[in-house]
Subunit: 876 residues, 2 copies
C-alpha cells in the first residue's frame, strides 16, 4: 500500500482516494500549472488508521518524510531549518466537499528558531504574526485548548497597544502574544511542540480526527454522504500573499457566476492571506485592477492563462483560489463554480457555441429548476424583510399588493388598477374572476395542488397555500399571523418560491426567458422524444404557451369559460330551468359564448392539436351562494327565492369530488354534451374557413366504464354528422377520454375500444388512488413528507410506486387494444421534472402543463431522453 501520493502522481479522477481538493491540486500540477509543491495522505490511510485502532500504518511517517524531502528539494528549502525554513499547510479534503466542517493548520514548521530565520528572510512582523497564528491554530485544533482563551490574549494585547485590529500589532507585540499563547497552553497541561516533525504529525492526526467532529457528522447526515469515506490530508508548501509588495491573495471565476458572461471575474486583496479575503475586514479589488498594476500585471496575465487552461481542461466554469507571492502566481484550488440560473443557461449556450462542450452537454448542464426560476419575479434576498408566516411554495414567483379578503373585492380593486393579494381560507371555482384580477394568492388551507395552487400556476400567479400560521377573518377583513394583524388594504408580499408571507412591499429582481434560454430549449427540443403541450383555457394563455414552445393544448377546461359575467347567468338558467324550452334557450346562449371561445383558441394554436375537456365540475359550483345573488337570480328567472334555495340545497354534495361531475353530467344532461360538441364543430368550421388548420380533440372526463364513453361518443358523432352535413364541409376530429379514475386504468383495454386518445388526469388519479383530497390534505400531508411516510408530496411529484402502476397499466392495456393509441398526461405532474422522467420511461406521447412550465417540461423531457441513453432500462 502506498499511503502518500505526490500531487504530480495524481489526477482529478482520483477523488475517492485523494479527496476533492487533493485530486484537483494533482490535476493542476499534472497540467503544469503553478501549484505550490506538496502531497496527499490518501483516504486509504484514513481507513487503515480506523481499521487499526487509530494507529497510523507503519510506513506512513516514512513515506511522509520521503515526500517532504522531495518538496524541500523542489523549493530548495528545509523543514525545520532556520536558515531556509519550509512552512507547510495541512488541510483536510474529503471526496465530497464539506466546506468549513473539518480542520486546517497553516504555517506548520515554525518554532522559536525557524521564526527567527523567517524574520530574517521576510520581515519580523510577518514572521511573528505567522508564528502566533500557528500556535493559536495548533493550540485550538490539535491540543484542544479553548479558542476563546487565545482571543482574550489578543484582545488584551490590542487594548494594551491601543489599536483595534490584529494587523495593527507590531512584531514585538506579536512576539509577546506568541509567548502568552504558549504559557496558556502549558497552563492547560498541554505542550506546543517545538520539533516541526512533531507539529506535522500532530496536525495530520488532528485533521483525521476532525472527520468525527459533531458538525462534520451532522453535515454528512444532512447531505447523505457516506460515513466511512474518510478524509485525505493535503500537505503543501505555504505560499504567502502577505509578505509585502507584490503579494496578494484572491478568488476568481472563469466566467461571471451571476450573469454567465465570458471573461475572468474575480477579486483580490493586496498583502493579504486567503482568509483575509473571505473575512471581509477590508474590501477586495476586482482582479481587473491587477492589469494596470506593474506588480501584478504579469501574475494577471498568468492567471488569465491558467483560467483558460482550466476551463478548457474541465470544460466547465471554474472557481479558483490563488496567491501572488512577490509577483509570482500560485494556484491553491480549482473547482466547478456555482452559478445563478441565468448564468447556468448563458454559460451552457456559450460554451456549446464556442465548441467547448457539445450542445447535448449544454442541455445537461442546465437544471429544469433553473429554467423555471428565470420566469418568475424573485424577492431580492439582500434586503431585510419582516416575515409574517410561512406556507407552501405553491406557485413560484413573488408579488406585492394590498391584502383583500373576498374575490368580489379583489375583482373590484383589481379592475380599478390596484395590485391586490387575495387572502382566503381556500378558493373555489367561483372565486376565479377575483383571482384573475389579483397579483397573488394566499390561502390558509390547501396544499401544493389545491384549487388556489393549480389555478395560480395555470395563470403564472404567485401563490402561497396551506399557510397554517395565519388565521383569516374574512368577515372583518383581516388576518392574524401570531400577534401581527393585517387589515384589508395593508400591503403584503408573498413569495411563491419559498412560501414566505412578508409585511410591506419587498424589493424584487426581474425575471425573463432570455435569448440564450430560447437557444438552449431549441436544442432540448432536438433531443427529447416526449411531446410538450399546455393546459390553457383562453386564447391569451394559449398564445403565451405557444411562445414558450407548447406543441398543442393537452387540456382546455371549458368550465372556466362559464364563470365570466354574462355567462354564469346563462349557466345558472340552464341548471335551474323549470321547462325544456327554458333550458334549450339557456343552452343556446351558452353555445354562442363557447363557439367564440373555441374559435379564439383554435386561432391562437394555429394548426396545433387542441384537446377540449367537456364540462367537468359539479353543477352546484355554478350556483349562487349569497342571499343577494339568489335573490337577483330569482328575479331574473321569475321564480321564487325559496325554490332556488331549495334546488341549491338539493344539489349540495357530501363529497363533491366523487359526485355528479365529469362524464356523469354528460350522461345525466346529454344536452350539455350536445351543446359543447356543437360549439366545438361550429368553431372548427369557422376557423378552418379562415385557412387555419384545426385539430379538435374532444375529451370526456371522469370515465369509469367503457359504456359511458361509448354513449358520449355516439352523441358527439351524431352532432358532428348534423353540423357537417348542414355546412357541407367537415373537419377532422378525435374523441378520447381522461383516465383519472382508478377503475378506468384497470379497464383501459375496454375503454380504448371507444377512445382515439387517452389523457392521464394524474391529479384526480392521485387523489382517488390515495383516497386523499388535495383540498383536505394540508392538515397532515406536510407531516407525512417530513416523517418520511411519503418521499414527496404526491400532488407535486407523481407517486411512481402506486399511482405510477396505474399510469403504466392504462398505457399498456390501452395500447393492447389500439397499438397506436396516443397517451398523454395533463395533470399538474406534467410540469414536474421527476414526473416527466417517469412519463418518458412509461412510453407516453406527451405531457401537458401550465404555460409557464412548458419550458421546464421541454428541458426535463430532453434530460429524460439523455438519461435513458446513459442508462438504458433493463428488462425485468
Amino acid at each position: 500500500m502506498q499511503w502518500v501520493r505526490h500531487f504530480s502522481e495524481g489526477s482529478a479522477s482520483e477523488r475517492d482516494l485523494l479527496g476533492g481538493k487533493g485530486a484537483n491540486l494533482a490535476e493542476m500540477t499534472r497540467l503544469g500549472l503553478p501549484v505550490p509543491p506538496g502531497f496527499t495522505i490518501t483516504t486509504d490511510a484514513f481507513r487503515a488508521l480506523r481499521a487499526n485502532g487509530n494507529q497510523v500504518p507503519d510506513s506512513l511517517w516514512e513515506e511522509t518524510t520521503a515526500a517532504l524531502t522531495s518538496v524541500e528539494q523542489t523549493l530548495d528549502r528545509e523543514f525545520g531549518n532556520p536558515h531556509c525554513p519550509l512552512l507547510l499547510s495541512v488541510r483536510s479534503g474529503a471526496r465530497d466537499s464539506m466546506p468549513g466542517m473539518m480542520d486546517t493548520i497553516l504555517n506548520v514548521g515554525l518554532d522559536d528558531f525557524t521564526v527567527e530565520g523567517l524574520a530574517a528572510l521576510s520581515g519580523e512582523r510577518f514572521a511573528w504574526d505567522s508564528y502566533r497564528r500557528l500556535i493559536q491554530m495548533y493550540g485550538r485544533v490539535v491540543l484542544e485548548v479553548e479558542g476563546e482563551l487565545f482571543e482574550e490574549i489578543l484582545t488584551k494585547a490590542r487594548k494594551d497597544a491601543g489599536v483595534s485590529h490584529d494587523h495593527e500589532l507590531d512584531a514585538e507585540q506579536l512576539k509577546e502574544v506568541a509567548e502568552r499563547f504558549k504559557s496558556t497552553i502549558e497552563e492547560h497541561g498541554a505542550h506546543f511542540p517545538h520539533d516541526p516533525w512533531d507539529q506535522l504529525r500532530g496536525a495530520v492526526m488532528a485533521v483525521f480526527r476532525s472527520w468525527d467532529s459533531p458538525r462534520a457528522i451532522a453535515y454528512r447526515r444532512s447531505h447523505d454522504f457516506p460515513e466511512d469515506a474518510g478524509t485525505a490530508v493535503n500537505i503543501q508548501a505555504m505560499v504567502f500573499g502577505n509578505i509585502g509588495a507584490g503579494c496578494a491573495s484572491g478568488v476568481a471565476f472563469t466566467r461571471n457566476p451571476n450573469s454567465g458572461a465570458a471573461g475572468l471575474f474575480g477579486e483580490f486583496m493586496i498583502n493579504a492571506q486567503g482568509e483575509d479575503v473571505v473575512s471581509g475586514v477590508r474590501t477586495p479589488l476586482s482582479t481587473d485592477e491587477m492589469i494596470d498594476n506593474s506588480l501584478f500585471s504579469q501574475a494577471h496575465a498568468e492567471l488569465l492563462d491558467v483560467a483558460r487552461k482550466l476551463e478548457q481542461h474541465f470544460t466547465d466554469m471554474q472557481d479558483l483560489e490563488f496567491t501572488v507571492e512577490r509577483g509570482k502566481l500560485w494556484m491553491l484550488q480549482t473547482r466547478t463554480g456555482k452559478r445563478t440560473a441565468s448564468a447556468a443557461v448563458r454559460i451552457a449556450v456559450e460554451m456549446a457555441s464556442e465548441g467547448l462542450i457539445s450542445r447535448e452537454t449544454g442541455v445537461r448542464r442546465v437544471r429544469p429548476e433553473d429554467i423555471e426560476s428565470l420566469l418568475h419575479p424573485q424577492i431580492d434576498r439582500t434586503q431585510e424583510v419582516l416575515v409574517l408566516a410561512k406556507g407552501m411554495p405553491a406557485s413560484p414567483g413573488a408579488a406585492s399588493g394590498k391584502a383583500v379578503f373576498t374575490p368580489e373585492r379583489a375583482k373590484e380593486m383589481g379592475e380599478a388598477g390596484e395590485a391586490v393579494i387575495l387572502v382566503r381560507n381556500e378558493t373555489a371555482a367561483e372565486d376565479f374572476p377575483g383571482m384573475e384580477r389579483s397579483k397573488g394568492i394566499l390561502t390558509a388551507r390547501g396544499g401544493m395542488t389545491s384549487h388556489a395552487a393549480v389555478v395560480a400556476r395555470g395563470m403564472g400567479l404567485p401563490a402561497v397555500t396551506g399557510c397554517s400560521g395565519i388565521e383569516v377573518d374574512a368577515r372583518h377583513g383581516r388576518f392574524w399571523a401570531g400577534d401581527e394583524v393585517v387589515f384589508e388594504g395593508d400591503i403584503i408580499t408573498i413569495d411563491g418560491t419559498t412560501g414566505q408571507v412578508i409585511r410591506g412591499e419587498a424589493a424584487m429582481t426581474k425575471p425573463g426567458l432570455g435569448d440564450e434560454a430560447r437557444v438552449l430549449l431549441s436544442w432540448a427540443d432536438g433531443i427529447r422524444q416526449l411531446g410538450v403541450r399546455t393546459n390553457a383555457d383562453t386564447p391569451a394563455d394559449a398564445a403565451r404557451a405557444v411562445e414558450f414552445g407548447a406543441e398543442g393544448i393537452g387540456l382546455c377546461r371549458t368550465e372556466h369559460m362559464f364563470f365570466a359575467p354574462g355567462r354564469i347567468e346563462a349557466m345558472r338558467r340552464m341548471i335551474l330551468a323549470q321547462s325544456d324550452p327554458e333550458r334549450i334557450r339557456a343552452l343556446a346562449d351558452l353555445q354562442v359564448f363557447q363557439t367564440a371561445d373555441f374559435a379564439g383558441i383554435f386561432r391562437a394554436m394555429a394548426s396545433r392539436p387542441v384537446t377540449i375537456r367537456l364540462l367537468d365540475p359539479p353543477l352546484h359550483e355554478f350556483l349562487p351562494t349569497t342571499e343577494a345573488e339568489v335573490h337577483e337570480l330569482a328575479v331574473e328567472m321569475g321564480i321564487d327565492v325559496s325554490a332556488i334555495a331549495h334546488i341549491v340545497e338539493s344539489m349540495r354534495e357530501v363529497n363533491p369530488m366523487l359526485g355528479l361531475r365529469g362524464v356523469r353530467l354528460g350522461m345525466t344532461f346529454p344536452d350539455v354534451t350536445r351543446m359543447q360538441a356543437r360549439a366545438i364543430f361550429a368553431a372548427s368550421l369557422t376557423v378552418s374557413s379562415e385557412g387555419v388548420e384545426v385539430h379538435p380533440e374532444i375529451m370526456i372526463p371522469l370515465v369509469s366504464t367503457p359504456e359511458e364513453l361509448r354513449e358520449q361518443r355516439r352523441l358527439i358523432e351524431e352532432v358532428a354528422t348534423d353540423v357537417f352535413s348542414r355546412a357541407g364541409r367537415t373537419v377532422p376530429f378525435q374523441i378520447g377520454t381522461m383516465i383519472e379514475v382508478p377503475r378506468a386504468a384497470l379497464v383501459a383495454d375496454k375503454i380504448a375500444g371507444f377512445a382515439d386518445f387517452f389523457s392521464l388526469g394524474t391529479n384526480d388519479l392521485t387523489q382517488m388512488t390515495f383516497g386523499l383530497s388535495r383540498d383536505d390534505a394540508a392538515r397532515f400531508l406536510p407531516s407525512y413528507v417530513e416523517q418520511g411516510v411519503l418521499a414527496d408530496d404526491p400532488f407535486q411529484t407523481l407517486d411512481q410506486e402506486g399511482v405510477g402502476q396505474l399510469v403504466q397499466l392504462a398505457t399498456e392495456r390501452g395500447r393492447l387494444t389500439k397499438p397506436d393509441l396516443s397517451v398523454g398526461v395533463c395533470g399538474e405532474h406534467g410540469g414536474d421534472p421527476a414526473s416527466i422522467h417517469f412519463c418518458h420511461h412509461a412510453g407516453l406521447d406527451y405531457v401537458s402543463c401550465s404555460p409557464f412550465r412548458v419550458p421546464v417540461a421541454r428541458l426535463a423531457a430532453a434530460h429524460a431522453t439523455l438519461e435513458a441513453r446513459d442508462c438504458p432500462p433493463t428488462a425485468d
Copy 2:
C-alpha cells in the same frame, strides 16, 4: 328428419326438441302414468318451417296423420267420425315456459256432424258447449276475428235467456250461439272449416304463428330467452272433466308450496274443465275431499300414487294438472313447483332426510335470498295499501311507525316505547342514537350503502333510502310525496325489501329462521370453504351474530361506541383539548368506556377472533353542530363559544371521505391509537383471566403506504409490551390492515411486510376505484344501472371487472410476501351472494357481513364451493 314424436317416444331430457310441456308429457307416458294419448310436432319442424318461408316440411302432415291414426287406435275413436268422435287439444310448448304467451285450441275435431255424435255420447248441452268453445277459440286464434265480437254474442244470449253465466245456457241456446259465431266469422270474410283435418292444420299453424305475437316477443326479451328456439306443438286427445257425474278437473302440489309440509296439497272442481278451476268462477274444493267421495276416491288414490311416483322420479316437489273423466284419472301436466322461501327450506331438508336427495342437493335447492327472506318481516301482499313513493330497498324487512324528522325526537319517542320511523334527507354518524331507537329508516338521499343503509342493515332495521319521490321538510316536521303530506306522528310503513313507502300500518307476515333452516345451514357449513364472520359493534350484535352462525367478528367499528351520551362529551373534550393534561384526561375517560365495551364483545364472542378497527371517521363528525350544543360544550370546557365555533369551522372538510380519517388520525394523534390499544389489551387480559380465550386482531384503516402501518404497528407493540409487562401476563394478538384505498392494493406486497392479516374494505375501495361517493350517487347511479352502463349497483354487488382486479391484486401480492396471509372482506359485499362467489374464487379466507346476513353468507359460500366443483376454473 322425424318431425313428429309420440309421447311414448320422448323423455324429460328432450326439452329442446319437444318443449317443456311435451317433454314432461312424454316422461309421464314413459313412466306408465295415465296420460291422454298424443304426440308432439317438434321444434325442429318449427325451425324447418321458418327456414322454408313458412312452408311446412313435406312430410309433416303425413307424419301427423300417421301419429293421429295411432291415437285413434289406442282410444278406439276416430277423428271426424260422428259415431265415435276423437277430439284433440292443440297446445304450444316452448323449451322455456312462457305461461299464457302463446296459443291453445281445444276440442279440435268437432263440426256440424261430429257435434251430434258427441251429443249422443255425452249429452246435448256438453256437446254444443264444446262446439261453441271450439268455434270461438278457432275464430279468434286461427282466423283472427276480434274476440270481442264473440263475447258480445254470448252477452246477448245470456241477456235473452235471462241468465248471468255461460254455464246456465242450455243446449238449444248454445246451438244458437254457435250458429251466430259462424255467421260472424263469415261476415268477416273468413270461414270456419268443417273438415276436421283443415281445423287441425289451421290450429297447428296458428300455434307456430303465436311464437311471433308481440307479447311473446316482449316476454322472451325480458327473460333473455333465445329468439330462435321456437315452439313445439302438442296434439293430444281431449279428456273432459265436465261431462257429468264422476268428472272433475284439478291442480295439486306434491307438497305444500307455502309451508313445505309433506303430503298432497291440491284443489279440484267437480264437473269442470281446467280453465274453470283457474278462472275462479266457483270455489274449488281441497283434493282431500275426494277421499270420502265414492266417485273420486279411486282417482284420489291413483293421484296420490302418481304424485309419489313423479316426486320420486323428478326428486323435487311437483305441480300437477289432472282431469277425472267419469272416475278415471288423467294427468295433463307435471312440472317443478314454485314455493315460498320457508317451503323451499323445509322441502330441501325433509327430502334430504328422507333420502330422496343428497344433503348437497338440498343445499343447492335453497337460494340465499330464501334464507334472507326468512329473517325479515314482510308486508302481507294480499292486502291493499296506499303506496306514497318508492326508494331503494336498502335494508330488508318492513316496519310501521310514526314518522319523525329528527334523531332527537326519534330517541325520545323510541325510549317512551313508541314505534317510530326516522325520516331524513340523509343520516350521519351522530344520528345513531336516534336511529337505534327507530323501527325503520327512510331517507330522501343516499343509496344502498349510504350511512343510513349500512347502519340499518347492521342493526337489522328495515330501511328505504334514496327515495327521491319524497321531499323532507324537517323544520316543519313533514314530508311531501307528490300532493300527499305526511306530518310528524302520522303512521307510515316502509318496506325495505321492495323500497315502498306506504301510508298507514300495513299488515305483516312473521319472520323466523326455523329448525329446518338451521339444519340446512349446518349442512352448508360442512360444504363451504369460505369462513363467515360478522360486522358487529356491540355485545348484543355479537351475540345475535353468533346465534346466526358467525365464526368471528370481521369488523368491529370502534367509533359507534363514542356516540353514546356520556361518551361523546369525553370525545369532544379530547378533540378540543387546549392542553396536553386536558387531552390526557379525556383520553383516560374514553379508555375506561372502550375497555368495558371490548370486554363485553370478547365475552360474547367467546374464543372466536375479533377484528377491531381503530378510529376511522373524520373527527368533525363528533363535534356539535347546533348552537345549543356548542354553547353547552363551551360551558362544560370553560372556553369561549367562538373558540369552539372556530375549531369546528377549521375542521370542516371539502371531501370528508378523502380527508383526515382512518390511519391518518392515528398518525396525527398517536395518543388515540395508544389509548385504543391500551383498552384492547386491558380488556383482553380481564376476559382471559375469566377463563375465556380472546383473539383480538387490531386493524388499521385507510392505509395507503407501508410506512403508515409500520408506524402504527410500532406504537401498538410498545403499548402491548407495557401493558403485558405490568400485568405479568400476555394474550396473543395480531395487527393487520384494511385494504380499502386503491394504492394499498397496488403496494400490497410491501404492506404485507407489516401486516398479520388483510381485510378488504370493499365499500371504500369501490368508492375510490370508481371515484364515486355512495352518499352522492343516488342522483345518477340508478339511471346508470337502468341504462346498462353498469350491470349492477357496485355498492351492492362487487364490481368484478374493476374493483375485483384490485381485490385479486391485493390478495396475490400480499401472499407473495406472506404465503399464509389471512385475507377477508368486510365491506357490504360480504353479505351479497354474487360477491361471495367472487370472494371464494379469489381465494379469500372469509367474508364478514352484518349479523342478519350471516346465514345468507353461509349458504352462498356453500353454493360457491359446489359451483366450483361443477365447473372448475380454467387456467387463463
